[in-house]
């Protein structure tokens, strides 16, 4: 069974149709990069997968859950689907450790001692053990983003979504975040990532999906797709991004 199954999704904002029939299937352990011009619907698609956006037609199944409006079922789905945002969105009033421990404690009733061990473990995975008691405001953007990834990991998700997680970072800080993501990919995590880092998509993602005007315009194994664009749109996009 695929980890993520998207079937003919349609999504409108008012009269603007943003997703015009998108279908995509992601196997467990697969890493899929979503690329495309600004406004092509990448974020919207990603946000549909964890229910942050609703859609008008189509069907989504993630980690064995069918997408639904029912709050209880939606929460069950979200326990298995992590998302990391461009703007980190850490909780500024909580320390790094508290940010990470909060959700396991309150949504899964993980005991305090266990949550603490879990937090230390995921924080070590992103290389920030020494920041356990820091507040987000005192961390660099790259460090905040790694904490955000750790916070998601603490929920032991089956699928991870990343929406341009390095776009807000200074160039010298993107590397440390990409490294963490690459490690996750190698560790077998199922990942969907919207990215502008073409190199990362080419080398780390098994599959790359090119979105254009609310549709999947082209998709295939990353190396093939980048080497041999089949459409002029992708070809132009890759050329424009290469400089």
């Amino acid at each position: 069974m695929p980890a993520v199954l998207i079937e003919d999704i349609h999504k409108r904002f008012g009269s603007l149709e943003v997703l015009k029939g998108v279908s995509l299937s992601v196997e467990p352990g697969q890493v899929v990069a979503i690329i495309g011009r600004s406004g092509s619907g990448k974020s919207t698609l990603l946000r549909c997968i964890n229910g942050l956006e609703t859609f008008h037609a189509g069907k989504i199944e993630v980690a064995g859950h069918t997408m639904t409006q029912d709050p209880t079922k939606l929460r069950e789905l979200r326990k298995d689907v992590g998302i990391v945002f461009q703007s980190y969105n850490l909780f500024p009033h909580l320390t790094v450790g508290q940010n990470i421990m909060l959700s396991p404690r309150i949504t899964k009733n993980v005991p305090q001692a266990e949550a603490l061990a879990l937090a230390k473990d995921v924080l070590a995975q992103v290389g920030l053990s020494e920041k356990f008691d820091s507040y987000p405001d005192n961390l660099s953007g790259g460090q905040q983003q790694r904490v955000a990834i750790a916070r998601s990991l603490a929920m032991k998700p089956k699928v991870m979504l990343f929406d341009e997680v390095t776009s807000a970072l200074d160039p010298e800080l993107t590397g440390e975040v990409l490294l963490v993501m690459e490690k996750l990919a190698k560790g077998g995590m199922t990942m969907l990532l919207v990215t502008h880092e073409m190199n990362f998509a080419r080398t780390v993602a098994d599959t790359t999906v090119f979105m254009h005007q609310g549709k999947i315009w082209e998709s295939g194994p990353s190396k093939v797709l980048f080497a041999n664009p089949q459409t002029p749109e992708l070809s132009n996009f890759v050329k424009a991004g290469a400089h």
């Binding site: 964890n50 929460r75 979200r78 689907v81 998302i83 703007s87 959700s103 949504t107 916070r151 929920m155």
Partner: protein, 217 residues
């Protein structure tokens, strides 16, 4: 005729205690009501939202004096005769609730939308999102305007005498009726109000500076 001396001054000072007590109670009850109205105002249920908006708009668009009269005579029309202190507290609480509801709604709304999304994505319920993510941040944001409003409340307690309660202001008036030394009396009364309000005003402004500093780094 009496003259304005130590016993009178002492009487006025003691009545300031009632002003403080009244402020505290009205603020406490008003906070609970105001919190409820703020949440209703932000509720997904449309009629709750409308009801809260209407309540806030009406209370903020009529004189505090009318809030006092309306709740006092409203209660007695319902056959409820409250002792003056309770009547004053109840009326002022209504006034407080509308203003705090509006201040707190603004504070809750100024927590970035992304915080709601991050919280929802972590499988929190709406109640958990409020409890652990939104309210702790909203409380910080609301602190300066809330303390600022406290100053308005202290000043507005000066008219509760209309429901028969003897507070600082009423004490001043009673002494004035006996001594006719209005200038000295109301200087003292004003000085006591000032001594309560000025530190609160400063605190509010200080908190605002601290917030602005922490927001802009």
């Amino acid at each position: 005729m009496q003259t304005f001396g130590w016993p009178e001054a002492l009487f006025i000072f003691r009545s300031a205690g009632w002003t403080l007590a009244l402020t505290a109670i009205a603020f406490f009850i008003g906070s609970i009501l105001g919190g409820a109205f703020a949440i209703m105002r932000l509720s997904r249920v449309r009629w709750l939202r409308r009801f809260a908006s209407g309540y806030i708009l009406v209370i903020q668009s009529i004189p505090v004096l009318m809030v006092l009269f309306m709740s006092y005579y409203g209660l007695s029309a319902l056959g409820i005769e409250l002792p003056p202190f309770l009547a004053a507290s109840a009326s002022l609480s209504i006034y407080v609730s509308a203003y705090l509801a509006e201040i707190w709604r603004g504070s809750i709304e100024s927590v970035p939308r992304q915080q709601w999304e991050a919280s929802a994505s972590l499988a929190h319920t709406t109640a958990q999102t409020y409890r652990y993510v939104i309210l702790p941040q909203a409380v910080r944001i609301s602190l300066p305007p809330t303390v600022g409003f406290l100053v308005q409340l202290v000043k507005n307690t000066s008219i509760v005498q209309v429901v028969g309660f003897v507070d600082l202001m009423r004490a001043g008036m009673l002494v004035n009726n006996a001594t006719y030394q209005a200038f000295q009396i109301f200087t003292l009364v004003g000085a006591i109000y000032f001594a309560i309000c000025f530190p609160l005003s400063r605190l509010s402004r200080h908190l605002e500076k601290v917030m602005n500093a922490s927001r802009s780094h």
